[in-house]
């Protein structure tokens, strides 16, 4: 049965009509027309659907929308600043050309942002651990690690 649910997504309040059991992913993609979080497995195994929930990277594909009413939800779209400039992690992914098909990029960027929020200068092992939940099939892992390092280095430089 559909109910009215209030969500806080990318800094804005949204009101949606949805079955409270609907996974957040479908609400974000189909009702709020956001492309950042991707459907990958629906099983919380691949990370394609990651969003930031109160700053932490979490898969959205099994998370009932009713459970995140009072959480701050950020997607790739919300990382872009109002003046249209990219978040340093997004910028680093473009500069390092850290993708082939790019389908996994959402999970990688969201995981990396959460990681750098928690630890501004992670070492190689910490970066790998921080990205562990996100799968890439094209084999762009080495570029993704470089991009995270480069974003961390730039943040330190500031």
């Amino acid at each position: 049965m559909n109910t009215t649910i209030q969500l806080q997504v990318n800094g804005k309040k949204h009101t949606v009509e949805a079955d409270p059991a609907t996974p957040l992913l479908y609400v974000l993609r189909n009702q709020l027309a956001l492309n950042g979080p991707k459907y990958g497995c629906g099983l919380q195994q691949c990370g394609a659907c990651m969003v930031l929930l109160n700053g932490k990277a979490e898969p959205s594909c099994m998370l009932p929308v009713a459970a995140v009413k009072d959480k701050d939800i950020i997607t790739l779209e919300g990382l872009v600043k109002p003046d249209n400039t990219l978040h340093p992690v997004q910028q680093a992914f473009v500069e390092e050309q850290a993708a082939q098909c790019g389908y996994c990029m959402n999970g990688m960027v969201i995981s990396a942002v959460a990681l750098l929020n928690e630890k501004s200068q992670p070492n190689d092992a910490e970066i790998r651990a921080g990205l562990q939940r996100a799968l890439c099939r094209c084999g762009t892992h080495s570029r993704i690690i470089k991009a995270v390092k480069s974003a961390a280095a730039k943040q330190q430089g500031k």
Partner: protein, 723 residues
């Protein structure tokens, strides 16, 4: 460079090209073969349009699969026309707009499409200069092209392409000889031009077929049988509708079952409900619990002529023998297959990430009995596919649903289990190699048998191989291709006087089709593992042994390069360095790979720590494209080789998610390093599949060096534990 290439290059390029834009005085090339795609679509405006907004629009029949083809094509077009690359728009495969270039496969997009665009753009350049000369009444050799404008040499007059054409397009045919820009004048080709689409991807802009949305769009799901060939016995539509609000329609045709719902989550819930509440016959039993190698070898085989060279010694010769095995592998795209369709006013429009939208259109025409002119397919990128995954099947599924529910856009997103359990896999293969060494330690005789299912059941314009077509009440019968690439790279690239090579093509228990590099992955894994075994018997190191059997300098160069870049690697205890080489298809890119592997057999742990590759793909269009493909190829192959195998029980596939079909995660992924040996004067050759085979053998060879265990059966992790 061989003589024919030498003539081709110097004849048409180096002579008569001055600093100005005109090469009208240049002598005709002595030899020029136009690209195949140009022969099929000779008109310049099939490939290129000049737009009023100051841009150039390029059409390619290929689809972006993450290989960066759009950028490479923009580079060659901008290069030939001296046009700003940021003003070049590339339109990907669309049956209403772009040339039919068949399938985006076999690392052929650079060789076919980028070369076609190069010739079309060069011919356009010549035509534009002629037009400018006529309009401005200035001799053509007094004109040049700078930044997309045709200017006089003095710079006092300039005209844009659009002004020259006045809204018309260049309809002339591309005719040989086409005078191409000399390669030493290149500013864009051969450079690492970044791919613009990454900016769109990273912002979450609309990019993938999964991102398409239309007003009033509805969502679908498919209920597959619980086994191959299982028949639907009972399905209670009324009960379904009662328990599943939001379901708009069920489409049942034989064993094809589709659900259309208002919301995506409703379609998924209804799929789950039907999986629990419909009855099916048992279907075809799979050979679970039996030894797969023995089973596959027992299957009937298609007749095949062996390849023979020289004369074979008898069984009494001192044969060294080994058997290798590769299980079924998945494409395992991160995003499961997806397609959208609408049937409206007698027209069917499909949005698909298929690698071949033109063949798919013909297939859908036969499936739906709808003329091809009533079907429009727009190619839209999906998740990386690495071959024939579910892309065509999901498009056929949604087309069937659209025909049954007209007037609405329908989106069908396969679930993870749909993709894992029903995509066509890369066939399991058995490879048996035998060789005789002569007194100097060189291979004198070579025998090689391979057993494999086909490596292509792509629809190819027929409906027969689409899952849904085989499920209908009046079903299409599956067609098996012959081998379809099983024998790719089965002939060693080494100089061996006596050879006997035989392919045994069976029809295996699982649905199989094209996976990145087809049979080359397993054949190169076997040949290059065996080369290391033979090198040891001959008392030679793996580099020297390979080099001694090669006559092609470019092959030797990639091996020597890998030797050079790994020369100072220090190997701690339990660590080994392995190498391997192949020339993809024995006619495309040369690639040598080294792997450094840490192994603790008693604990069953193995870590591929680092991999290096040297690759020669001839002329390189985008250096970073070649590096990215080769890095990714090594990592993907490392995952296949170490840990991947499709599992099944008697009923069906049991590898239905990432827990039951694990692929490499960040904690296991090696560092990678790639050296590109650019050959600007050689033919451009696709690079996307070159690393798959050598990477596998380099890892197996490194495992042997690290711990003395020769793993001949994949996946390595499984067999390391057993050994």
């Amino acid at each position: 460079m061989n003589r024919r290439n030498f003539l081709k290059n110097t004849g048409c390029l180096a002579i008569g090209f001055s600093l100005n834009g005109s090469f009208i005085d240049a002598p005709a090339p002595l030899f020029q073969e136009l690209p195949q795609s140009i022969k099929r679509h000779p008109n310049i405006n099939a490939w290129l349009e000049v737009l009023a907004n100051g841009q150039i629009r390029i059409f390619t029949g290929k689809l972006e699969l993450g290989q960066g083809i759009g950028t490479a094509i923009a580079q060659v077009a901008a290069e030939e026309l001296d046009f700003p690359i940021k003003s070049v728009e590339v339109v990907l495969a669309d049956t209403a707009r772009t040339p039919d270039e068949g399938y985006t496969v076999g690392s052929g997009s650079i060789e076919q499409s980028a070369m076609a665009v190069r010739y079309a753009a060069a011919a356009a350049r010549q035509k534009l200069l002629e037009l400018a000369s006529h309009q401005l009444s200035i001799p053509i050799d007094q004109l040049t092209i700078t930044d997309g404008k045709i200017c006089t040499l003095s710079g006092d007059r300039a005209v844009t392409f659009y002004q020259l054409l006045n809204g018309k397009q260049i309809t002339d045919k591309v005719q040989s000889p086409v005078i191409l820009k000399p390669k030493d004048k290149y500013k864009l080709v051969g450079k690492a031009i970044p791919r613009n689409e990454l900016y769109r991807m990273v912002r979450g802009d609309e990019y993938y077929v999964q991102d398409l949305r239309f007003p009033g769009m509805v969502y679908a799901s498919i209920v597959r049988p619980p086994a191959y060939e299982a028949k639907l016995l009972q399905l209670d539509e009324k009960a379904l509708l009662k328990s599943n609000p939001g379901v708009l329609k069920t489409v049942v045709n034989g064993n094809f079952v589709g659900i259309i719902a208002r919301e995506e989550y409703q379609a998924i819930k209804a799929q789950r409900w039907l999986q629990q509440n419909s009855k099916w016959s048992a279907g075809t039993r799979l050979p679970a619990g039996t030894d797969l190698i023995a089973y596959l070898k027992s299957l009937p085989e298609q007749p095949d002529e062996p390849g023979i060279k020289g004369t074979m010694p008898g069984d009494d010769a001192n044969w060294i023998k080994a058997q290798y095995f590769k299980p079924y592998h998945m494409h395992a795209s991160i995003g499961p297959s997806c397609a959208l369709a609408i049937y409206d006013n007698g027209q069917l429009h499909v949005w698909s990430h298929s690698q071949g939208i033109y063949p798919l259109r013909n297939s859908l025409s036969k499936l739906l009995q709808l003329p091809t002119e009533k079907i429009h397919i727009t190619g839209v990128p999906g998740s990386g596919c690495y071959g024939h995954n579910g892309a065509d099947d999901v498009a056929a599924d949604v087309a069937l649903l659209a025909m049954a529910y007209p007037g609405k856009h329908i989106k069908l997103q396969w679930t993870r289990a749909d993709e894992h359990a029903w995509e066509p896999y890369g066939s399991a293969m058995i490879m048996e190699a035998a060789a005789v060494l002569d007194s100097s330690g060189k291979i004198s005789s070579w025998k090689y048998d391979l057993w494999s299912d086909t490596h292509s059941i792509r629809p190819g314009g027929e409906a027969n191989n689409l899952i849904s077509a085989q499920s209908l009440a009046t079903p299409f019968k599956a067609k098996q291709g012959h081998g379809g690439g099983a024998a790719r790279n089965s002939e060693p690239y080494y100089t061996i006087p006596n050879q006997l090579i035989k392919a045994h093509i069976f029809q295996g228990p699982l649905r199989a089709s094209a996976l990145r590099s087809l049979g080359a992955y397993a054949n190169v894994f076997a040949i290059e593992s065996f080369m290391d075994e033979l090198a040891e018997k001959a008392g030679k190191d793996p580099f020297t042994f390979r080099l001694a059997h090669l006559s092609d300098d470019r092959a030797k160069a990639v091996i020597r390069k890998v030797q050079e870049i790994t020369a100072n690697v220090t190997l701690p205890a339990n660590t080994g360095l392995g190498i391997a080489f192949s020339r993809y298809k024995n006619s495309a890119s040369y690639c040598a790979v080294a792997a450094q592997v840490f192994v603790q057999p008693e604990k069953g742990t193995i870590q591929v720590q680092k991999m290096w590759a040297a690759i020669d793909s001839g002329e390189v269009i985008n250096t970073d494209g070649v590096i990215n493909q080769t890095e990714g190829g090594m990592i993907q192959s490392a995952s296949w080789t170490l840990m991947e195998q499709v599992k099944y029980d008697a009923q069906h596939i049991t590898s239905r998610d990432w827990a039951s079909y694990p692929i490499m995660r960040f904690d296991q992924v090696p560092e990678v390093e790639v050296v590109v040996i650019a050959q600007p004067n050689e033919k451009a050759m696709g690079a996307g599949e070159a690393a798959q085979g050598p990477a596998a053998a380099a890892i197996a060879n490194a495992v042997y060096k690290a711990c003395g265990k020769r793993i001949r059966h994949l996946p390595i992790l499984d067999h390391l534990m057993k050994s």
